[in-house]
Symmetry: D2
Subunit: 423 residues, 4 copies
């Protein structure tokens, strides 16, 4: 694919961001693109690409239905869409090129529930490819990842690589819902070497991080407080105030003691409660997450968070429903694969600086796939592709420098060829 092909494709994905498990248009577009460009051995779509019973954090039916109908109003292939119905999104593409190792590449494809900036300093807005889905945005570069996945498949098809390439177009990374069902599918079982990729992460265009470590283990949890409503003027004492319980919980969640063994995180990312200004709130809800530099640290945070939630509820005589959400473990990049990536990057046009190692400082459910491969005796490596981004990840002004998409394709395809030679 030419550089302008890659850019056009990325912009198409950018225009139609779909959050976790709602990647209907995105999956259909991937399938369409692959089928028109390549002669694949296998193309598993939707329920065939993932172990559906392991899906985590799936939205409710009404929500899924809204996004599904929206996809149906596009030119997406109806037949493909039908296979995705109910939130079975994603795809696995298999390209066989003779004897050799089975190399995997994992790219994630989902957008975020974040409104996109609309002023003319924001390039997607001024260049006309801003999100057309109000309140949703590709604010973490997965549009570029998806494009890279397609680009690498084509590059390998045109290369001397011998072996098998599997590209995992993974849904639902942002809510850590899709990594596990993909890692539980049969498709991962024969993968010998796995690469995963992320653009940006505060690395500028021209920089490659050969092997990323420092993934924070993460767990979501959702707390629902159920109290008792009452008229806030006439009988304030008769209510059991779920919003007071929630506010107490939020304050104390962020105040969980820091831990000497390493980094911890906590966030009350979504809160809501109450129904009218004159009713003592009967219900409230918090969608939270905790993280830790190790699984133990994450579990320390989880346990403390649970204690905070339960006692905040009890303090206001509220019941509480605490639902553990999706989780992702930690993982490390294998040094030999990282060396290959570094060496290839050193010979790639446009790459100006190579970091051997860096810490992610965030979480990723690619770790599920990395762990699965490593437990089977294989190797895994998470590669960073620098890109200038004006706003931070997950903010309304995030954007990628489109030049970096080509860097990603070149470095990854080069590394895959080299793996074919060396293993």
């Amino acid at each position: 694919m030419t550089s302008s092909d890659l850019i056009a494709l990325r912009r198409d994905f950018h225009r139609r961001p779909e959050p976790a498990w709602r990647e209907f248009y995105t999956t259909a577009r991937i399938v369409d693109e692959l089928e028109s460009r390549l002669d694949l051995d296998e193309l598993h779509v939707g329920p065939d690409a993932i172990a559906g019973e392991h899906r985590l954090a799936v939205p409710d039916e009404r929500d899924l239905e809204g996004w599904y109908q929206q996809a149906r109003e596009t030119d997406a292939d109806e037949g493909v869409l039908e296979r995705l119905e109910g939130g079975y999104t994603g795809a696995v593409a298999v390209l066989g090129q003779g004897e050799g190792p089975t190399v995997g590449l994992r790219v994630d494809i989902d957008g975020l529930p974040q409104a996109e900036a609309d002023d003319q300093t924001h390039h997607p807005a001024s260049a006309g490819f801003r999100s057309e889905h109000e309140g949703a945005m590709h604010a973490c570069g997965h549009d570029a990842h998806t494009t890279i996945g397609i680009g690498v498949l084509e590059a390998i098809a045109e290369s001397d690589f011998t072996g098998t390439l599997k590209v995992f177009f993974q849904p639902a990374e942002e809510n850590i819902g899709g990594g596990k069902p993909m890692a539980e599918s049969e498709h991962i079982e024969d993968v010998d070497q796995l690469l995963a990729v992320h653009v940006g992460l505060d690395h500028p265009t021209g920089e490659i991080v050969a092997g990323i470590d420092g993934f924070l283990a993460v767990s979501h949890l959702e707390a629902t407080f159920i109290g008792e409503p009452s008229h806030a003027g006439a009988h304030p004492e008769a209510g059991r105030n779920a919003v007071q319980a929630m506010a107490t919980a939020v304050q104390n969640l962020y105040a969980i003691p820091r831990h000497d063994d390493g980094a911890t995180r906590v966030n009350a990312g979504i809160v809501e409660g109450g129904s009218a200004s004159n009713i003592v709130p009967e219900h409230a809800r918090v969608v939270a997450e905790v993280r830790g530099e190790t699984t133990e640290l994450m579990e320390y945070m989880y346990e403390k968070a649970e204690r905070v939630f339960r006692n905040a509820a009890e303090m206001y005589d509220c019941e509480i429903d605490l639902e553990p959400g999706a989780r992702a473990p930690s993982a490390t990049s294998d040094p030999k694969l990282a060396d290959i990536v570094a060496n290839v990057a050193g010979e790639t046009d446009g790459v100006e600086r190579i970091l051997e190692r860096d810490d992610l400082g965030g979480s990723e459910d690619a770790t599920y796939l990395m762990q699965a491969v490593q437990e089977n005796g294989g190797q895994a490596c998470y590669v960073g592709v620098g890109t200038d981004h004006p706003g931070g990840h997950h903010t309304s002004t995030f954007d990628v420098d489109e030049a970096s998409i080509g860097h990603g394709v070149d470095v990854l395809a080069g590394a895959i060829e080299r793996i074919g030679d060396e293993y």
Copy 2:
């Protein structure tokens, strides 16, 4: 109207609760009922019934539109509905019967954003007239009030009353949005005596409160916190967390010192914030209200609440947008009118006990109309009609004892006749 007419009518209103400024079906049904039963002198509908520019707390267009379309799917008169479009609801009915005082009766007609109980111990559920509008409910008896308003008109039409009766079918009481625009309309100007009515309020069936006082002055306010999003795992320090600010505000709102001069109230009735579990929340919102036994006490609470909101925002480096909402003053019932009501009640079938005075302990924007009449030299009185109610006002199991609807009609119509005699 017979007792079973009244009950059937009340159940129809109960089945279609419409919250503030969305009383499209309700208004159309009132108009239809009045036109089919009575020969009115005037019937002012929607924008003709209220001073539209004084409407407070009007929902956004999309919200109004949804409720409007829902009403259009019923058998409501299209012509009437069209006059209400945009949230101009309510009606004023005028019945002239010769020389005499102009007596007003104010009834409120809106429902609440409160889901209705659905088990068989809840009478509207078992008897088949539970709310058909999911998430909305007549949980404060305004369905009975509306029915009483129509019943009184018919009773007076059939009586010897000489004078003019004006019934104000007021929208948007629950968000104190409708009292002011109705009090600012020309229709209130010539009213000599005004009665208002409320069922229940913890008084059992058979009890009448001749004059209610102790209205709490009330003010709404809405706070929007605007921070800065960031990735909660990778850069927690880069965010400015609007939800932490909001939680701090909520905790300290309820902790505003009690006041020696009398009762105060505060409620954070609706809260919401954040967009995803892994994004440091950029925005949060609180819809709150404060009340006081006097206007001064309400203002004390308002000032303190403002201070809490501003400093909670500043603590997390968030901007804050503080919008003062609707307000309602206090008011008192005139003793002479209350005496009339008490005397009439003493002669009314089904009335077993009469309280001369009681405190509301809540707020009401009927006070706007009462004040307007009293400032013009007239009298006003707020009458309580006891009704057994299984659940408290504003809760999912609230219901009225339908026998009390007849009591309300009889006492109010009787009092209006007596006013005609005595003034």
Copy 3:
């Protein structure tokens, strides 16, 4: 006693304020004054004046010992002091004047743990009788009450009153610790009419409140949080932070919902915790109080406060020791006694305005004595004597207008004479 005698005596008490159960000098001075001026029938001192086993909120030995030794360094009578050792303070003086009713007068004698203002605009400072006990102060006028008690005894001794006068010099009103043991003593049993008195309460000099009601029922409670210390830098996670638990409790205490049935109060009056900036705090303590317009409302607050404390502790995995403290009930003034006071006040020099009734809005353990007398079939009345006070009660600039001391003596002695006539 002349006006200047009264003033000199009050200033002596003012100079040596002694908080609850530490009134060693004060009691000895009362005894000395009474013995030198009057020929009493009985004078019960310390353990003979109160039912010692019912004392509440007694300080620890070291604390008592410090105040005791301080009193020994004055010219107070050693023999009297020895009878008070261990915190058995207070006195009951009995003056018999023949046949007639037994009338009681209760005055409280303790100071407050409040530093006194030291600038020249504060009269006790500029006139040279500021507190000599650092950190303690007569900031509620009990120095004037004690003086009035002595003045009334002398006035009655010189009057035509027939009957018996008992003056209860009650210790430990401020921590509601002394009312109960005095009410449990035998001395109250034969009292037919009881008067109690308070100066100030926002009433100016020249105003008399004949009968005060609206005493808030009150209960103290003390919470001690016990966590686990750890090095705040090296192992923050190893601690169980008692100060975080305490802060959570304080925030939520003040946020206990207001109650529709009447006034409630809550205060976390004393807090302390931790030992060093680099140690995660192991312990914390809150001395709190709750009040209610009725005993039920006070108990509502108490129960909610307990729930807050327990769950705040549990949230931080701390143990908690919750000690219920002293309590005082509500009470009302008998109208017939209030009428007598009003009538006498109307004839008293310096009295310019008489209020028949007023609400205290605070608490008082005189209510124990009032209840005891009323339960025995007698009457009780709590009298307010207006005095201009520059600062509020319990603040560093509180002071009394010494002219009001004479008003108190005249009105109370006059009322006692009249009681002797009428009963």
Copy 4:
């Protein structure tokens, strides 16, 4: 010194723990021990040992006076004590042994304001050398450090070391008050190599950490809230509640967002406020500290903490006095010195395991002295001496395994000899 000499000396220090700037007995005992055992070239005591004007966090006079008088009641030398009056504690001992480098050894000598355990499982209690100063304790092993300092001086005096040894007996480490004035004194100026030492830190007996890094930069700060008192029952609204402000601050302090660049810490180590249960608290105080893995991270925390304090005060209309307290920077151990320590440790009896590097994870004001030496072109190294400790540092059951005192003396004296050889 024999092993039993060292143990006896350590127990004597343990029995008389003296917190920061109150090390009167301790300093006198050091002087006495050194003078009786050694022929020193110089012995600088108190104001001669430190740059007094740079002292930080000095207690108030009354506090110092109490500890001073307590020391005077022991057998400590009066003449020495007099030189220390006013809190000028500590000593610098200089032992010249011919040509060669000037090697410094820094040991800290202060105890903690922490009560010591008193049950028989706590060795100092069962063996009869528990703290005799109620509420104070050697809970961080500075008694062992002091003993090691004396032991090393004697060991070097008996060795072949050529050069000069200076031992800095530093006061006030725990409140980071003494490091700076010692680093500002002239005594540090000619030091070529500096060793510092700490026992324990979760390393067991027999383990030596050759070079410790990872000192957290630290800053203290003290916040005093000043509100307005009022009677909590009669006029709750008239107060401005300093304790509510303080509780809000504490909750939000601990909730300052974690930082991606590294470890941060915060602790509200001491809190206090209010004066009586029935007075709305006029004042409250928090003694807090913040730390960071780098100075920038510490400053991030400091700035956020300040924002929290100021807005919590403003929320309750309180004034606030924010006093920045003592600070200590970060520092690193020089590899060459650490190598020498590791080599010597490898040849030392009782040492079973050597760690080349470890992170402190806490703070230390030895960093002031290390920085001063390194800025002068010298080297510094912070050595860890493992010791089994039943309870954690800064807890009531902390104790050292006395066998490790000998290890400390041997390793440090050996390293000093080797430095004499190699530099």
